[in-house]
Each structure stands twice: as structure tokens, then as C-alpha cells.
Chain length 583, copies 2
């Protein structure tokens, strides 16, 4: 039940429709609710969950993802007693509401927040049944790496929970619980079905990892695995859904599409439970209808997956923070063109304001590329020439060189923020990850904005995504949003005559490879040299990356799509004198 | 040996000179090196430590603080293999150097970074002896709250380490190790002396907590405690030193001054060790000279302590990042006046550039207050009128209201950054914690800067510190740096005619009390109402604080001085819809 919102796409990895062998009329029906909550919106999330629950009919078990009731991650809200109390109250309300929508006799597993007897927060799976919380599981394994700080927030659970539902033994786990091979595992290995509640953020290729992991757990314990994940954007994270079910042999039998919310109902042929510790809910029963035919969503190809992540990350930031419009500077270059395309896809072109702010160094082709972008996408276009402002600053303050270059970027920043103050749009910063890495941006200039949609996208990926987006448009018979010139021309900040990025930076193809090793791989200089990069280049790039930390610290948030985004994923001091050696 | 740098100050809590009863000629002499390393500067830190070691003569044990060799906290550098290898190499170099400066026969305990057999980082105390690492202790208890994320970085130790030095059993602990009452403790309770290596950042009243803690541990285990702490600024943290020694009865017998580096040598009368697990270094020996008379530094009073923390935090940020000057806008108001005074004390007035940037709404008294501040302090003063810039923006972009107000602040930001680009000074943001809390600042306007010295100082504290600084000047026969008018006049942003802070905010005295409960105390709305604040006011202030999160995220770093600073101490999502209830 991804009604209307599921659309087949290019790519061949998965097929949404694949028949199961016809099973007996006794089967276990589970519904996985791939939902998009908002952090802290307890009333709204409760209602949203009840809306989904109301669409459920005749299932043995309904499961919502990790901390679906509170939203995730809630960060220091977990520590605030008033929020803890409100979350407890919302769970009671949800339980009553589930009764009211006719699910009183159906166990419903919900991720939320609770506290232990010492008042320490717990990341829980609550089993709601007949209007009450009938059982609770506490997440055992707390991730404390990358973007995660769960030792800061939660006390770890130590007791497994097994439910006997419709005669089947169902084990419960929460996200990180299944990522380690250490034994004993936090679930009963004799269970027939392992239900996993997740708040697993998108990264490139994470979908493959998740499937592999579920297959491994299924085979190790001879049990089916039902994996339900959140969907939606939350500050720098975007959850992609990708909920899935594998059978006892590790065969993928159902998979939900990424980046949209919905309900996936799957019928499973499972052996009757034998566990002695299982908490009893109901015995097995027969149905008069044959089991449903499950579907496996067609896989998105890598470009589409990345693009959709960026679209959802932006649209949810805008929606959940109550903005109605966005504004961005259009330079005619590829970064602002891609951000404009993403914004138009996320919000509709009528909610996007593009501002061309030519200076005396802006080329005619840049200005026409910006105008063409506006025409192609239909966004709201306006032009504010900045030469006069820049002239006044440079004359009054006697500026030249870098100071004059930066004043241009900062006048543009002031202009965009003035539009934001006057008309209310969220300003988007258009910098990419490669620029952010080496500090090739002007702080308080092109770096202004409330959100930076492509801050975790390398320049190489920017070009690739732009080509892909245009190609998709052609395939659909639409006008490609991005002017081809913006894709093909050499990149330039146009802050001085005939300036090109290549004046101060290596080719982006080389740079991005180096950054991949240094930033994502955390490899030292000698490794980079061993990998074949020129020592001088390695030294230059590392120095640039290290020196730009202070700029990154003040950069707006943006959607994480890589294994290591700048921000919470990579935490380095501003003040430090470590210099990589081995050039 | 805090040569020259120790100066007696006001206050009466402690006295630097207090005679010990004359002891036998057998005593244990320990030197605590309260040092100021720079994160990542392995060569520089090694040399600095050797310089201190070279001044040590005839001691039984020399101790450096937690991670003194690497600097602290090193954040994700801990995870980088190239840095781990370099830290190991630096330890070898330090060991050789200690031999060279004549300490080959003296055990020296040094905090640094190592890795375990799985390659996971360890926070260690290395015992260097005869040119080698003779023993290693791994920190057992890893703080993962407040500003600390040590579960992210370190693997926890599990084995205590006891050293038999000069016949005495010496236990080792690192910082957080001693903060819990849980048993077993990570040190051997039969030891005679517990040596604690610390990286304990300053917070108001932390000195009292530390002493109480050491007294408690001494009494519980009947052992003397030698506590050695880092000193110096590191991004948002400032370490205050405050190294101390308590005897077996819990009596404070020596205490180093806060905020300066130095060596504190203490002679202790201790029983001969009896532990069977102690690693042997040397038997007891006699000396021909009587024991030294230890000193207890005169306590700083609360205002001086806070002011010194801010001075050191700023001066180390400037020095360690290689800046030569700072620049800030001078409005004539109290915040910029206090920051200017701190900067002049930290760097000398000749390295401080103050820029008056009057707009058409700037009052004559503000401009004269700014000029007077410059005259009183001797900083480099210049005036850049901004009316013409603002006029051009407001006319061209048709701005009024908030947009026009903010353009003034942003033009000032552009001006300061242009000066920074042209001449190189670090720009200081002058906002205080109360403003930052409620978002009473202009992002990319008065919020521009590389460092924000008073971002963790409330407005009430700003006034109090300003009065204190002026009073101290009078006491010293100097010119009080801050114009009295700046202290006494009602605060105003002067962005529109007759604007006053009280137009949009409650009185700062009330506001700061509310913020203390909501921000530092993490109390909910109903608690605030119960505490006697008007429900409307509570609702207004909480809404302001919650909405300003996005501004705080892009604010420059600044010295943490409270129990909960904005930044790593308080981590909240930007996107969230939790609204406190109970008005």
C-alpha cells in the first residue's frame, strides 16, 4: 500500500512484483509502516500513526520504526524530563487511539522513548495490545560513531523480548542491535521471525549493506527478518525507508520503495513457535483468503537514488520548519543550477526564487545561463546587479585582491538575506562538498543560507547528477532543467577577470579522488602518496582541507549522502597544529 | 615554580604559603607539570615538555596531565592511523629526550594516545623510565556527556596500574576515573598516593568540585592524591590548571594558580608501600635537605576567575591559530566594550582594532562611548560610517522594518570581514549568551567572526564583569577600560529610532534567571511557571530560544565558562516541533 506514490523507475536490480509459492491458509501477516514523523511533534506523529493504522485490516502484527512516535534523532530532548513525560503520555494516547481505530486485538510495535528506574532515557520498542503497553524492549547496542551519540542519550537494554503472536515466536531488535556478530545476540535465536525497528539514515550503497545484513541474520538463526525503517529528512539526515522482508533461507521476498512513506503488508509462512519464554498474545489461526503476493520495489539506480535523497532532504527541511519558499543565487554555474533543479523538484518551481546578481566580472554567458535556467524550470527569476554596491565598498574601504573578491560574494549574501527578511523564503547555500573541503567559498558570502542541499555532494557528482537529471527529463519528454552550457563550461567563481577554479585548485576529478581518501577514508598523507598522487598536490590539498575547518563550522546544514559528511560525521578541532607527514 | 607568572590576587579562600610540619629526611618528592600543549603539535609539545623537565631536579616522580603530548581533546584525530603512529613516535622521542635532560632515572608519567591490539585508540598514561615506556595505564571511565564524546574515540582500560617508586605505592588514574563512586575503582585502594592526570575544562565553581572530589578519594582510600591538570585554551574549552595535592587525611597541602602554566613540586610524607602487584622502580631513599614548604595559591574571586578564563580562551585561540591581531566592531555598548577590554588584556591594545560603524540610528553618545573606549584602552580605532551603504541597499532592494535593521548589521559584518581579508586580523563576534539564547542577533551581521569571546557569558554577567574590570583598574591605579556610560545606559541595538532591547525582551535580570533554568537546567515550562515566572513570559522566552537554534549553529566558537554552553554541551535539532507545555 504505497498508493499512487510508488512509481516504477529505471534500473533492474529489483522487481516489485514477484509471485510467492501458494502457501497454506495459515500464515502470518505483518504490516510494516514506513513512516515519516517529525522530531518532537508527539501529537502530530500520534495522529499520523493512527492514520496509517486505520488503513490496516486483518494483520497479525503492525510495526512502526525506531522512535517513530518521537521522531529520530531527538538529541538532547531525550534528556529533558518534560519531554520524557510527554512521550510517555503520547504512548498512552496512541494505545487508546489504536483501540479506537479497531486494532485493539492486534499487537502493534512502536519505537519510542522511555526512562528506566533511575530516570535514564531508553530507546524502546513498545508492544501495544488491547489499549495498553503490554511489553517493552530496550535497545541493547547503542551506536556511538559517525553521526550517532547514543551513549550520550540512552541506557542500554539487557533483556531480550520474544512475543508469541498467532502461534509464531517473534523476536524484537532495534537497528544497531543487528549490526554486530557478537554473541549472545539481543534476540532469542529460536524465534521464527525477527522484527527490526530502524532509524537508519541514507548513505550511498547503504541499501545493499542492509539487505546483506538481514540475509546474514536470517541464515544464522533460521528465522525470517522484517526490517522497517523510517523515511524522511531530519536536519542533516535523510531516512530512505527501504523496509524489507527476507525469509528463513535469506531470500528477499518484499521490499518497499525508498524515499516515500507507506505501508507494506507481507504474508509469511512460518513454523509454530516453541520458545518457552515468549510472551503470549494469540494462537495460530487460519484465514479464508490466500496469502498476498509480495512485491519487491524496482531499485533506483545510483544517480536517481542520490538525487531523490537530496530532494527529500530539502523538501522535509522546508516543510518541517514551516517555510513556504526558498531563495538562492543563480550564478549561471553548475552548482546553483543543480540546487535550483532539486528545489524545483522538491517544492515546485513556483516556490523557488532565483536571483541573478551579476558583478562587473560576471560574463555574459553566465548571465544568460542563469536566465535560461529560470526559463527552463519556471522558477521566479529576478536580477539584482551588484556592481554599484561592490564599487562603494571597494572605494570606501580601499579593497583589492581577495578582499575585493570576497566583497562581491558577501554583497550577494546580504542581498539574499534581505530578500529572506523581507519575503520569508529560506535561503539555500549552493556549495558542494569539494569546495567545502578545500575552503573554496566565501564565509558570509556564497556560504549564507539556512540549508545547503548539495554540501555532501562532490563536484564530480554534481556534474553527473546534472547530466542524469537532464537525461531523465528527455526520457520523460520534458525540458531538461539545466542549461547544457552550465554543465560543460569550465567552472569559475567569476570574482576577478578570467578567473577559473583550476587557477587555484587541481582538476576536480583528481581533487575528488584525493578528498575521498583523505576525508572519507581518514587516510594519512603517506597513504595518498602511495596511492599515486604527487606529493606536492597531497600537501597542498591537505593543508587546504585542514585550514578550512573554521569555515565548515559555520556552514549551514545539508543532507548527508556519503559515508562521512562534514559535520557530526567528521569532528575535528579548528585549533590544531597536526600536519600530515610523509610527502 | 610558577616563575614570575604567579601573582597574588584578591580573595581570601586560599593562601599560597603555609608551612608543613617538619618531616623526616625520607619523603616523596613529586613534580606536577601544569602545561599548555597545542592539539596535534607533537613536536612542539614534546619540546615544551622537555623544557619543563629540564627545570626539574631531584624529584621521585614527574607527572604531566591527560594527553599532554597530543593536546586535548584531539577529537577525530584519535581515529586517524597516521596520527596514532606519529603520537607513538613522539612518545619514543620524548623518552629519549628525558634521558638527555637528565631524567633517565626518574619515572615520568605522561598522558598520550595509543592503540590496543585491535587498533582502537586508547587514552593512556605512559610511565617513561630509563628512555623507555616502562608501563602503561589505560583510562577506564570514558566521559560521554556534556562536551565529551569519549566512547566515540577510546577503548576503555580494565587493568589498574600501581608503581613502586622510592618505596611508595603509586596508583594511576585519568580524569573521569575518579569521578564515580562505583567499585571497584580503577586504582589499587592500598596505594599510598594516587596520581591523577586530567584534562578538566574550566567551568564556574569547578575548582570547588575538584577539591571536594580529591578530598573524598583521599579519605575513602587513606591515600594522598596528586591532581595535575592541563592549562590553556582549545577551541571552546579553556583548561584552568588548578593542580592540587591533598594528603591522606584529605587536607589540601598544595594548589597551583589557575590559568598559567608552571611546575608544582611537593614533598610528601607517605608510608612505605606494601602492595604485591606494584611494578618496582626504586626503593625509598633519604635526602639531606628538609622537605619543601608547599604553597596554596590564593583563590581568584568569582569575577576574576571568569575574566581570566575569557582572557586565556581568547589569547590561546589567537596564538595557537597563528593570528597577530583581532578586529571588532565597537558600538558604544557594553558587549563590545567588554570584548575589547578582554582582547586588550589578552593581546595588548596594539593588537586590537576597534571599528566604529555608525548608521543614521547611532546615537551621539554611542559614538562618543566607542571613541572613549578606544582612548581608555589605547586600541587601534577607526570609524567607517555605514549610512551610505545601508541607503544603497534599502533603496535598491526597497527594504524596511526588520530587513532594513538587519542590513545595517550585515553591512557592518561585510566591513569587518573586508578589514580581515585586507589586513589579516581575526574578527571577534561580541554577542553574549543571553542574546544568543533568544536569537537577538543578526546572522551574518553582528554574528560574524572567527571567535566569540563572551558567547557563554550572560548579559547580567557582562555588566558584572565590566564593573569588576573597571574596579580592578582603579585599585591598580590604572584607567578603567570601559566607559561608565556603556555600563549604565539601557542596552540598545540602535537599528531603528529609539530602539531598546527592552522593546522585545524582558529585563535581562529576569531573562537570565529564566535561561538559567531552561538552558542550563533543562527544565520544562511547567517547572519555570512553578518557579514563579509568568506563563506568558515563559512561553515567549522558550519559543525564542527554540527558534534561534539555526542561528546558534552558525555562530562562531567561543570559550565555555558555564556548566552548559551552547554548542557541544547542548545538542538540539534545528528541525523539531516539540513545544513545551504547562503554561
Amino acid at each position: 500500500m504505497f498508493p499512487g506514490r510508488y512509481r516504477p523507475t529505471r534500473g533492474t536490480k529489483r522487481s516489485w512484483s514477484r509471485p510467492l509459492p501458494l502457501a497454506a491458509v495459515t500464515y502470518f501477516r505483518i504490516a510494516l509502516a514506513q513512516v515519516n514523523p517529525t522530531v518532537g511533534d508527539l501529537a502530530g506523529n500520534t495522529q499520523m500513526m493512527l492514520d496509517w493504522a486505520a488503513r490496516v485490516d486483518d494483520v497479525d502484527l503492525l510495526v512502526f520504526p525506531e522512535m517513530a512516535l518521537t521522531g529520530y534523532p531527538i538529541e538532547d530532548l531525550a534528556l529533558r524530563p518534560s519531554f520524557q513525560r510527554a512521550a510517555a503520555a503520547a504512548l498512552v494516547e496512541l494505545a487508546a487511539g489504536l483501540n479506537a481505530v479497531g486494532l485493539g486485538q492486534t499487537p502493534v510495535v512502536v519505537g519510542s522513548l522511555s526512562i528506566d528506574s533511575h530516570g535514564r532515557p531508553l530507546n524502546i520498542a513498545a508492544v501495544i495490545y488491547r489499549g495498553d503497553v503490554a511489553a517493552t524492549y530496550h535497545k541493547h547496542r547503542l551506536p556511538n560513531y559517525g553521526v550517532f551519540d547514543e551513549f550520550r542519550y540512552f541506557s542500554a537494554g539487557t533483556v531480550p523480548l520474544t512475543l508469541r503472536i498467532a502461534g509464531i515466536d517473534v523476536g524484537i531488535a532495534i537497528c544497531e542491535d543487528i549490526w554486530s556478530n557478537a554473541t549472545p545476540q539481543p534476540w532469542d535465536s529460536t524465534a521464527d521471525l525477527l522484527v527490526v525497528l530502524n532509524g537508519s539514515p541514507f548513505e550511498r550503497r547503504k541499501d545493499d549493506e542492509r539487505l546483506d545484513l538481514c540475509v546474514q541474520r536470517a541464515r544464522q538463526n533460521d528465522l525470517a527478518v522484517a526490517y522497517v525503517n523510517l523515511v524522511g529528512g531530519q536536519d542533516e539526515l535523510v531516512f530512505d525507508g527501504d523496509s524489507l522482508v527476507v525469509d528463513r533461507t535469506g531470500q528477499l521476498i518484499a521490499r518497499a520503495p525508498q524515499f516515500i512513506d507507506g505501508l507494506m503488508t507481507v504474508d509469511l509462512d512460518l513454523p509454530t513457535g516453541t520458545g518457552t519464554d515468549a510472551k503470549w498474545f494469540s494462537d495460530s489461526h487460519t484465514r479464508e483468503t490466500p496469502p498476498l503476493t509480495p512485491g519487491v520495489a524496482v531499485a533506483l539506480d545510483d544517480d536517481e537514488e542520490l538525487y531523490e535523497a537530496l530532494v527529500l532532504g530539502l523538501s522535509d527541511y522546508v516543510r518541517k520548519n514551516g517555510f513556504h519558499q526558498v531563495a538562492l543565487g543563480l550564478s549561471g554555474g553548475i552548482d546553483s543550477a543543480l540546487v535550483a533543479a532539486i528545489a524545483c523538484d522538491a517544492l515546485g518551481a513556483d516556490r523557488v526564487i532565483g536571483v541573478s546578481m551579476p558583478s562587473k566580472y560576471s560574463s555574459a554567458h553566465s548571465q544568460s545561463d542563469a536566465a535560461q535556467l529560470a526559463q527552463r524550470t519556471g522558477l521566479n527569476f529576478r536580477t539584482v546587479p551588484i556592481a554599484e554596491f561592490v564599487h562603494l565598498f571597494t572605494e570606501t574601504l580601499h579593497l583589492s585582491g581577495l578582499a575585493e573578491e570576497n566583497v562581491q560574494a558577501r554583497v550577494r549574501g546580504v542581498t539574499l538575506m534581505a530578500i529572506s527578511n523581507a519575503e520569508g523564503p529560506l535561503v539555500l547555500a549552493t556549495g558542494n562538498k569539494s569546495e567545502l573541503a578545500v575552503g573554496y567559498s566565501t564565509i558570509y558570502g556564497d556560504a549564507v543560507g539556512g540549508f545547503a542541499p548539495i554540501k555532501d555532494v562532490t563536484k564530480t557528482q554534481v556534474w553527473q547528477l546534472s547530466r542524469w537529471r537532464n537525461a531523465i527529463a528527455v526520457e520523460r519528454g520534458e525540458i531538461p532543467p539545466i542549461p547544457p552550457d552550465s554543465i560543460t563550461k569550465p567552472p569559475s567563481a567569476e570574482l576577478r577577470p578570467d578567473q577559473q577554479d583550476s587557477d587555484s585548485l587541481p582538476d576536480y576529478e583528481i581533487l575528488d579522488q584525493l578528498l575521498d581518501l583523505y576525508v572519507e577514508g581518514d587516510r594519512g598523507a603517506s597513504d595518498l602518496v602511495s596511492a599515486g598522487f604527487a606529493p606536492d598536490l597531497v600537501e597542498q590539498v591537505i593543508a587546504l582541507v585542514d585550514r578550512a575547518e573554521y569555515k565548515r563550522r559555520q556552514y549551514p546544514p545539508g543532507t548527508k549522502v556519503s559515508a562521512k559528511a562534514f559535520g557530526r560525521d567528521r569532528r575535528l578541532p579548528i585549533t590544531h597544529r597536526w600536519r600530515e607527514q610523509g610527502f
